[in-house]
């Protein structure tokens, strides 16, 4: 079978000593840089890209892929340990991952993140190897109306992210949408809601808001509580997930992998949305949704699987269509052309050694990530034993430096401080920031695709229901809405009956 020949070719390329070494080097560098807040895969790759210029193309790409996974995973480490989403896809990991860390379960949280990432990576790599060209064709069938309908589905799941009142989380989603409109309007070039600040012309940075609302607000809340109380419980029970943890999370990993693989193929939809959706779906279909946000291991497993699966399948449109789905993929694409490789439909036939070598080293990179990070867990967890009065100023400094490096703009640091205050106030008012962040991510894409669809259809709104994929998504959105509204009404009745219980 051609597939196995190809795979054999790939292993032949990837399993040479030097390629394994580059892969390991990439994963290691990526992990350690990715741990620093603000330095996600995009920044890490762009900084390390010049190093790879001197390597031959296959080695360079293998190393870049290693950096990519390493940096993505490093972001999750920071999210779990100190509630700092160093990059957009790890915001969701904060919700339950950090709650677990506070209960002394940072070890299992980190381990399950690594293991579910590895599983998702394996599945997604297999998808690339088997079905890359047909899947790429499918990415093309997603036009503006389809994206709009998909964003609508995403928004409806957003309300499920919080566990407080529905109205409040809806208001938070809308607030996120509003923040997302800040910046240059793509259609008219007009600056909206920038209040005369030119630095806002490209909008607020997601990482800045997320770090402020999660990381900084969390520090303030911790300092406020009690006197010399330590934030992390002293005794760390175990480093590895228990049998029960595995039993609780494997289904979530499967679902997360599915969602992530699917969304990763669509250019632009990306890892952030897939991890949000995976989490929201888990919560939606959980027997006991109230556990989420308080350290449910599924709440770490599902988004981590989704995020890593999407990170892999994002290579499909990049390699086979030459269309980068994210900034990181644009860099990879740029690197490919620097090495004289034309990404596009012919890359599989014109450079089979490179394509299959890359596919196999993606998998090896994932494997190395697990091998490297499982032993590191012990070290990370030990870091939490540093007294909080020393830990939190360090986090503040790392956040400031990291955020500054995003665009070398001191205003980003100011915005982080403002987001921190806003996050603090909102949490005091029992408004959770997670739905706001999802609204912020989805908003611009939603508006853009809505307006674009209307121009494409010359003002005819039926475009959303005449396209089959879009129609299907809208039906799904309607079902979600029904699922959302019905229990809320039922709960209200139940609450009315048991008035005065709280």
């Amino acid at each position: 079978m051609a597939f196995f020949d190809n795979l054999a070719l790939g292993f032949g390329v990837a399993l040479t000593a030097s390629h394994l070494l580059y892969c390991l080097l990439g994963v290691t560098l990526g992990s350690f840089i990715g741990v620093l807040p603000g330095l996600g895969p995009l920044v890490t790759i762009s900084m390390l890209l010049p190093i790879t210029f001197n390597l031959e193309p296959t080695s360079a790409l293998i190393m870049l892929a290693g950096i990519y996974y390493g940096a993505s995973y490093g972001g999750s480490t920071t999210a779990i340990l100190v509630n700092l989403p160093g990059e957009s896809s790890s915001v969701v990991t904060c919700l339950d991952g950090h709650a677990m860390a506070k209960q002394g379960r940072a070890g299992p949280a980190l381990a399950i993140a690594a293991l579910s990432s590895f599983f998702a990576g394996t599945v997604a790599t297999a998808l690339i190897a088997l079905f890359a060209p047909p899947l790429a064709g499918w990415a093309l069938s997603f036009g503006s109306p389809e994206y709009f309908s998909l964003m609508l589905v995403g928004l409806l799941t957003a309300a499920a992210l919080a566990h407080g009142s529905m109205l409040k989380s809806m208001a938070m989603v809308v607030l996120g949408l509003v923040l997302g409109t800040i910046g240059t309007d793509v259609n008219s070039g007009l600056y909206r809601l920038t209040f005369g600040v030119p630095e806002l012309s490209d909008g607020l940075s997601f990482v800045v808001i997320a770090m402020g609302m999660f990381g900084i607000a969390e520090i303030v809340a911790n300092l406020e509580q009690g006197t010399a109380r330590e934030v992390f419980t002293g005794k760390v029970r175990n480093l590895m997930p228990s049998r029960r943890d595995i039993a609780d999370s494997w289904r979530a990993v499967l679902r997360g992998t599915g969602i992530g693989s699917f969304l990763g193929i669509l250019p632009g939809a990306g890892t952030t949305i897939s991890s949000f959706l995976a989490y929201a779906m888990e919560k939606r279909f959980a027997r006991d949704p109230s556990r989420f946000g308080t350290g449910a291991i599924e709440g770490v497993a599902a988004p981590e699987a989704a995020n890593n699966a999407a990170a892999q399948t994002a290579f499909i449109p990049t390699l086979t269509l030459g269309i980068p789905g994210s900034g990181t993929m644009a860099l990879v694409l740029g690197a490919l052309t620097i090495y004289g490789i034309d990404p596009g439909p012919r890359v599989m036939t014109s450079h089979p050694d490179l394509f299959w070598g890359l596919v196999v080293s993606m998998w090896i990179g994932n494997l190395m990530l697990v091998i490297l990070n499982l032993p590191l867990i012990g070290i990370w967890v030990r870091m939490l034993r540093v007294p909080y009065r020393l830990l939190y100023p360090s986090i503040v400094v790392l956040c400031c430096v990291g955020v500054y490096t995003l665009a070398f703009s001191y205003l980003d640091v100011v915005f982080m401080a403002v987001s921190g205050v806003a996050g603090y106030v909102l949490v005091k008012l029992e408004c959770e920031p997670a739905p706001l962040l999802l609204g912020f991510v989805l908003g611009p894409m939603m508006e853009e695709n809505l307006r674009r669809s209307m121009v494409l259809s010359r003002g005819d709104p039926s475009i959303f229901v005449t396209q089959p994929i879009s129609l299907g998504l809208l039906v799904f959105a309607a079902i979600l809405l029904a699922l959302l509204v019905v229990p809320a009404i039922r709960d209200k009745r139940a609450a009315a009956v048991s008035e005065g219980e709280h």
Partner: protein, 148 residues
């Protein structure tokens, strides 16, 4: 007694205020129509929805609502942590990375419960050194280390 749910009332008022500002600012942009939306259409719509949602949240707090008084706020950590970040933002480009980090550590430590000079000094030195090592030397990022 009547205003038992102060949290929701405040949240509602906050959302309404933000929504109103957004509607006010964005109505200055070309609105267009539903068929051919201008840059103002979406923000005005969102601002309006925010006002409505805010009114609903606040209104519900007035009528029913479980007792939820405003939680106590201790200003010291909030102010000093925020200040420490702002200090970094304002000092970095004028004085360089090292002074900015030292000042940030100082301010943020003042927001905590105990403050020991010796410890804070060592911490500031370690963080400054580590940041220079990691970000400047290791990653080669363009930071001015200090200037005055």
């Amino acid at each position: 007694m009547r205003l038992r749910n102060q949290k929701d009332l405040c949240a509602g008022l906050l959302f309404m205020a933000i929504g109103a500002v957004v509607v006010f600012v964005a109505s200055g942009y070309p609105i267009g129509s539903a068929m051919r939306m201008g840059p103002g259409y979406f923000p005005v719509l969102l601002g309006g929805i925010l006002v409505v949602l805010g009114a609903a949240i606040g209104g519900r707090a007035l009528w029913t609502g479980d007792p939820a008084p405003l939680p106590p706020v201790r200003l010291r950590p909030l102010l000093l942590v925020t200040l420490s970040i702002l200090v970094f933002a304002l000092m970095l480009e004028r004085f360089g990375l090292v002074p900015a980090i030292v000042a940030t550590v100082l301010a943020s430590c003042l927001g905590g419960h105990e403050f020991r000079w010796r410890e804070v000094a060592v911490l500031a030195a370690i963080l400054a050194a580590a940041s220079v090592l990691i970000f400047h030397l290791g990653l080669g990022l363009p930071f001015t280390l200090w200037s005055w």
